[in-house]
Amino acid sequence: MGGGITLNDFLVLSLIIFSLGLVTVLTRRNAIGILMGVELILNSANINYLAFAYYGGGKYDGQIFAIFVIMLAAAEAVIGLAVVLAIYQNFKTIDVDAAETLRG
């Protein structure tokens, strides 16, 4: 355990990143910006898993979970960007408000 950093520090850090991610998703109107916000949320969870696994000791469940999250984040980014690209070809914009036809 180095330099007096405790589990709590990691949890606070992950909470801050999680909140930043949520704020990004809620305030951005650019589709790629929103996807980056989602990425922040996923990484905040990763920090939690690693911190809990490190300070909990013993098994590797937390590390494995984090690896899977990274992998799935990549898969989600692939599909997300493919959809955004198709949206751009059809709407000529990636602003989510401008691309809104379904309402009500």
Partner: protein
Amino acid sequence: MDLGNLASLKHFIPEMILVAGVLAIVLIDLAVRDKSRLGALALIAAAASLLAIGLEPALSGAWLFHRMLVFDSFAIYFRTLIALAAVVAIWMSIGSKEVKSCDQGEYYAILLASTFAMFLMAESANLLMAYLALEFVSLTSYILTGFLRHNRRSLEAALKYLIYGGVASGTMIYGMSWIFGITGSLDFSVINKALSTPGHLPVLAVFIALVLILTGMGYKVASVPFHMWAPDVYTGAPIPITTFLAIGSKAAGFALLTRFFFPAISHLAAGGSWTALAGVDWPQLLLFVCIITMTLGNLAALQQTNMKRLLAYSSIAQAGYALMGFVVLSNDGIRAMLFYLFAYYVMDAGAFMVVMIVANSTGREDVDAYRGLAWRGGIVPAVALTIFLFSLTGIPLTVGFIGKFYLLAAAIRGQFYILAIVGILNSVVSLYYYLKPIRLMFFEQPRGDEGTVRFEAWNYSLMGVLACATIVFGVYWSPIISFANRSLSFFTGPA
């Protein structure tokens, strides 16, 4: 029983059939020029998997793949329901005009892969497996929703689905990480043991973690406040996919929700009553979610003019009804919920089938396209839609009535009188918008610009089967309720 990788395969045959179907479709798609038979191949794979579930050896329960999945009668019920949903979705895809122009090989391969993922969701016994399965379902659903690549509505729906889904599942794993930190494990039965050990449990942290997890699972079943994606996605997606999301994805969501909130974090006393964790009052929270879900779904449906959107809000309301069985925290309630999900499968699939038949002939999905449907060649779909909508309302002699009856009975027996009253009031409200298309179809004359509805043997046959099932199971429902009864046992390991 804790089975290793090879020993588990014996209980994994339905899933393996689906995977074999996916691989076969991908390979044949590369080799053959005529893609028109790929749908039939997918249909055979889904039906074979359904058959394999029926032929599965009786077993009280086991962990598969080193405790990643659990094999028990609860999983059998949901896998049956999901396989049935896949059969309907593939059948509709074959008869759909919209899907004809798409890449057939990719479409059916992804549809089968999505079914496979939903199976895993119904069986997961570990938070990691639950997340992977849920995300697998989501990723395949995004692709299927946006499959009409040149259709603006389809793409917009895919983008909205993706954004809401990404946030919901991200929030869910953040909540799961807290559960992991508190209990030190991802395994459902270890979590249960850790949480039920008396001691200083951080009650507030557990409650917040459960709320966060509910975000991800509530998004899959489209309950308020995570329902916003549903109307847009249901409207934009191709109709067979809308149906698949409405019945399959929702059933898988309910399976995971039940498996997490009952065997993983609640305690089952002898006699079939569950108790929530002391100090963590999630049933109270879900009571509000349930009441708001049904009310909001029904009120928003009142002013819809697009049939798919109307059915989307109706399916939100139906999810609210099914949640009633969840809130009462008893085996009675779970049984009622299982039965209601079956009833919902039959009637909602049927309603979407009629929407597709009308859209195939006229290219329209708005409610006005149904004006005088009975008098311009569509008397059979008009009668069928009437049956399905009556059943969705909960009118006697239909399966929807029996389903609602069980739910209300469970609510009253659990002394949740407010829930029962709200449920009945909501049924009355829903009658208004369900009757609107019926009135248009029978009591108004066509204006002449609606077009005629052609006879399509393929689509009519499935519509007929679903309409008959709605009536038959509304009169003779004992096979389903006894199936639901048998499915109430969760395998949680040796006591």
